[in-house]
Amino acid sequence: MGRIAQIRSAASPGPVVSAGRAEPVDSISRPPSAADVATDRLFRAATRLMAWAAVALVFYVVWDIAQQAVPAMREYGAGFLVGTTWDANKQQFGILPAIVGTLYTSFLGLAIGSAFGIAIAIFLSEGFLASGLDAVLKALGLSDRPGWMSLPGWVEDFLKTTVELLAAVPSVVYGLWGIFVVIPLVRAPANWLNVHFGWLPFFDTPLSGPGILPASLVLAIMVLPTISAVSRDALVEVPPKLREAAFGLGATRWEAILAVILPTASTGILGAVILGFGRALGETMALAMLAGNANVISWSMFSPANTLAALLANHFPEAGSVEVGALMYAALVLLAITLAVNVAGTAIVTRADAALKGLR
């Protein structure tokens, strides 16, 4: 109370100004109190601790899974990676079909997802909507109305958000949707292909229900937002002068895109595809529900299959202690593959950013 009163009287202008000279006043500033300094030290230490905890978490996750997998690794060795049966009763464990199925579904899903993802990235970054609207308005003779020109940006934002929302839908819901929509939808065309083109190894079994193709289609939807968002970032980063130079030389829009813009952004797009690959490899629920959980190795995209993540999801809840050991080994294999792919993808995206900075 006393202190505040003191400050008030020091701050009141009346007597000081009338006296016309600088009266020494009590300063309200003070060095930080001991409590302030202690809080500061403590808080900074806490943030440093948490930052290192995040690093430690990564190592702890790897160490924890590896340590649980050690007994199974001793027991089954490398034969685990090439074995083809998974039978808990006979204690025979092999994950070759799961590894093949993981790679097959991921590549197929990635191929479809990349085609659409990159198309979306191009569509949303190269001003198609603006020039399309311009052409329509010119045809209607309305090109002098400036009010329309905010529309393309608005629509682009809306489309971008909608594509990103594709990633927000939980994968178990995609699985449910896949069971009741995608499988019935692709069954007829798949069986037609099997009847007429069955001599191709890709089509040599009929699609009875769950299988690689429906799983890959749903996987494509799930990796599409990752690929389109990261490649759009790469395309937007391409310096405008390159695009303008191509147009100035008389290139059509797509000649500029294919010959100049895509090659310039190619490293970033490659990074986007690799990050999408990492996502596809680890995706679990949609595959556990749609791939069929069958330990089969087949070229046919209509055959049921298994993936590492789906294997874990299907067997873990009811596994006995021996099988849990084998599942931990499988988890370690999945961890090694996804970590390698993600580290490569992150490194490539970072390098692409740095390379484009040099161009500007």
């Binding site: 060095p31 930052a51 929302l165 178990v172 970590l339 992150t346």
Partner: protein, 310 residues
């Protein structure tokens, strides 16, 4: 010597330079533009189809009973998924309680106290690696770290698995938005004699709050929809977490250490069911789950629009 006089050019056919769809170059460009546009629109079809089916099929079963009753047995009619809604909320709350404070503190360190240090780079890289961790491996981790330690499936085990998945999202978005706080605000606070901690807590964090909350909400939306990490950490249960008292009372903590239901696992379990009633409930549960996830997600995005610019 006479300078060569250029020939008059009227004779040349300038229509060569006009843009016409009859030329292969222009036609190719036009066709590719149409193709890309159509592919973009085609990519929206799945989202619309999912939403349409959820509303038509899931909406049918959705009533008050769905939120107050327990999952039905094989052939029983009716029933609901009240325990799964509660279970999802409890586990996401546990995960948020673990990951939000630690994620924000770590973000403060790498954005504010030690930017451009070796530590910051390592932390950032590790967070990016964690972003790519398959969700099922978070479940395997929680199984090894919590379930094996405590001897049973439980809600906290599920919460830990979800926390591992939330942490990188919270950390990286919080870092981004803290870095976007204008330096002059920081300098003003320092100039007034604030300690670094006071600068962060009174000036930087409040300014970055919309962006930080966006990250938290996106992480919560993701965690609420995750199934794989819960399959063998929280498992599933046909009963309420506690029938006697609210979950937040200490004396019922023991009840949290039992298998716990969640919406996502309920959808997975019932999707393969041969019984119509259970399948319809799976659709209704999916509608509720997607509604929660999309509302939180879109809410987070709208907050992000309000955050400060560079």
């Amino acid at each position: 010597m006479t300078c060569p006089v250029p020939e008059p050019r009227e004779a040349e056919d300038l229509s060569d330079l006009a843009r016409s769809l009859r030329r292969p170059r222009a036609l190719f460009s036009w066709a590719m533009s149409v193709l890309t546009g159509m592919m973009t629109i085609a990519a929206l079809v799945p989202l619309l189809s999912v939403l349409y089916l959820l509303i038509t099929r899931g909406g049918k079963q959705l009533g008050l009973a769905a939120f107050t009753e327990l999952p039905p047995a094989a052939l029983a009619p009716g029933g609901g998924f009240g325990n799964a809604v509660v279970g999802t909320l409890v586990m996401v709350a546990i995960a948020a309680a673990i990951s939000v404070p630690s994620g924000i503190l770590a973000a403060i360190f790498i954005a504010e106290f030690g930017p451009d240090t070796r530590t910051a780079q390592v932390v950032q890289f590790c967070a990016k690696v964690l972003t790519g961790l398959p969700s099922i491996l978070a479940g395997v981790f929680a199984y090894a770290a919590v379930v094996m330690l405590t001897g049973g499936f439980s809600a906290p085990a599920g919460g830990v698995a979800l926390a591992v998945l939330m942490l990188p999202t919270v950390l990286l978005t919080a870092e981004e938005s803290i870095k976007r706080v204008p330096p002059k605000m920081r300098e003003a606070a320092i100039g007034m004699g604030a300690t670094p901690t006071q600068v962060v807590l009174r000036v930087v964090l409040p300014t970055a709050l919309p962006g930080v909350s966006t990250g938290v909400m996106l992480a919560v939306a993701r965690a609420a929809g995750e199934t794989a990490p819960l399959l063998f950490t929280a498992l599933f249960s046909d009963y309420w977490i506690s029938r006697s008292a609210p979950v937040f009372l200490p004396k019922t903590m023991g009840d949290l250490m039992k298998p716990t239901a969640s919406l996502a696992v309920l959808i997975y379990n019932f999707s393969g069911s041969p019984f119509d009633n259970q399948i319809e409930l799976a659709w209704a549960a999916a509608l509720v789950l997607v509604a929660i996830v999309l509302v939180v997600n879109i809410g987070g995005r709208m907050l992000a629009r309000r955050s400060v610019g560079p």
